[in-house]
Symmetry: C4
Subunit: 202 residues, 4 copies
């Protein structure tokens, strides 16, 4: 039993390493998508400002996923084939963020890119929730990870905000961007309940 | 003997880490190859749809290789120089998938890109089979990995489907794409026999 | 206590692995930003020379961060949520270096790119100092890492040199580039005091 | 002493992990540099053939470095600051290979790209030799790694072949390409002496 748990932990560590690799490349490649200003005037730089701002937002979102994913897999004792596919499914949606980011950076005042950005983020949010469910199914409802996740209010609220953004983008893109930024802020507030449980574990 | 086995396991873990790194970059760079729609109309987005669909297919194929490669190396006790080169050979073919994906995305209705995509996938399939043989040669016919792999029906069937796609693409590209998609579906079905053997091992 | 320390070390190792991944991609993607000469004459190659030189500078700076970051996290026993965010904040600024590098490479004789390059480097420098503070706050003023870092003269001096470069770039970009190169040289000189403390530790 | 050796081994493992990351990105990004044929005719594909061939060569060279680097660091017991910088120096030269590869792919019939490609490879070769020297200096002339490396005939011969290619490219690029390919073939032949020593070690 102890050995099996060790094997499960090692599997989780490898899954995390692969996902970390993908997220590290996503972050860097997204920065590479920032285009160099056309000339060396402040005016040309100001044209790149929307690109930079949406990059900051996307960087924060990927950072949040990386952080949550790290805590999720750290608490996981068992991995199954379904967990592996659910994880790849999450990485798929995250891998679309750089293109969505680039598009918003190029045409931030239009509804369609703002909406598509929200749709990709919503996809990642739903994929994350699916991953959590798969992990809880394999580890059991009484497992440490199931208790640590709890009802995942923040995750569900984030998905709702992204879904609202997909729609509101058609009224005005700025409403959508405000909602997306709200998601990022939501996660910056440290989740004391979870942190204390983790401390209690050791 | 026990120490040597530990060394072999560590070598396999490093080979896996390097391959994971390459596959993580392949996946992300492939997503970066998706070009931003030219304008913000649904029409422009629909023009990107074939690119997105072939990206989904390629993502699934790389995911399948990652998954299989992970299980293969996890069961491996010994690594040789030949295994290292066979692994690099596999990574070479996988590294051609992003370019093939981009080409199909740009000209999916033509036979040549559809055929070339299949050829790159076939190359990866053959390289994987070679890697399996090299690993079995080093670990012995009675080793755990040799028994776990068995006759590798799925691997051989996949190679046949890709080979058929290379030819059928000249009749109509859609026949080829159907075969490639069939390969992906073939691997999504969990392989219970292998999974149970793995469970039995621990 | 011993177990908690082991857990903290493992967390630090993972944080380092993720950061290493981001820095590895930054370095390589920066090299990919070097454009191929337009034709095959020495004249065309000489046009690429400024790009190559600023790449050498950026490579050295990222290398210095990688080296320092490695030593910092190696000495760290405890990680907190704030440390994780401070680390992502550092990676954010480092991820802007490739674009700044590309811009300087394309228009090195202008003040604005030279100044922006310094601003991105200054941001990374400030972020590194913040990361050090967060780590010391979590590990305690009497911890090994707090003593190993000491007063971090070099770090503060580097930030001052970058800040000076941001301003001096408006007089002449070359003054700024000299200061940036001075930062790189400053760190190449081995820091004997730290190295000997490390030796004393083992 | 045993603990210090364990610490040195861990340091070497991390240095290897970082280098593996850089090399994994180099390989993949190089493949991404392959441009999609302009149209879907065999003629357009044949125009990409030189790009593909030089990619195969570069892939093999990076693969050889990865393999040798892996064996070198595996045998290393101690790491110093100088070793870290020597390793970064090697990665610097390797990071230039993708641009050189792209240039040769675009203008393979010209002398300058062929010569520059050889110069970048020569730089990597010299950097590798420097890295070996730094490692032997830290580990001692009687260390396992010093004995395992021996006189490094292959490494020196490779550097000579690359240097010859840099010059011969000006007579005809094909002479240079032949020499570069000869280097790759030279390393594919397994080095039995080293392999047996390694076996003897365990």
């Amino acid at each position: 039993m102890g050995e099996e748990r060790g094997e499960g932990r090692r599997e989780a560590a490898r899954l995390e390493a692969f996902s970390d690799g993908v997220m590290a490349v996503i972050i860097t490649i997204m920065a590479f998508g920032l285009t160099v200003p056309k000339n060396t005037t402040w005016h040309a730089v100001s044209h790149q400002l929307p690109s930079l701002l949406v990059y900051v937002l996307s960087f924060a979102l990927i950072g949040i996923y990386w952080n949550n994913h790290h805590h999720l897999l750290r608490a996981t004792q068992r991995i199954s084939g379904a967990v592996m596919w659910a994880n790849l499914h999450l990485l798929f949606w995250l891998s679309l963020i750089p293109v969505a980011t680039k598009w918003v950076g190029e045409a931030h005042e239009h509804s369609l890119p703002a909406s598509v950005y929200g749709a990709a983020s919503l996809g990642a949010g739903v994929a994350y929730t699916l991953l959590v469910r798969m992990i809880i199914r394999v580890n059991g409802r009484d497992s440490f990870v199931a208790k640590a996740i709890g009802s995942d209010i923040k995750g569900k609220l984030s998905a709702c905000l992204f879904a609202a953004g997909v729609g509101l983008a058609w009224l005005t893109p700025w409403a959508a961007y405000s909602l997306y930024a709200a998601v990022a802020l939501l996660w910056f507030v440290p989740d004391r309940r979870l942190a204390s449980r983790e401390t209690a574990r050791h």
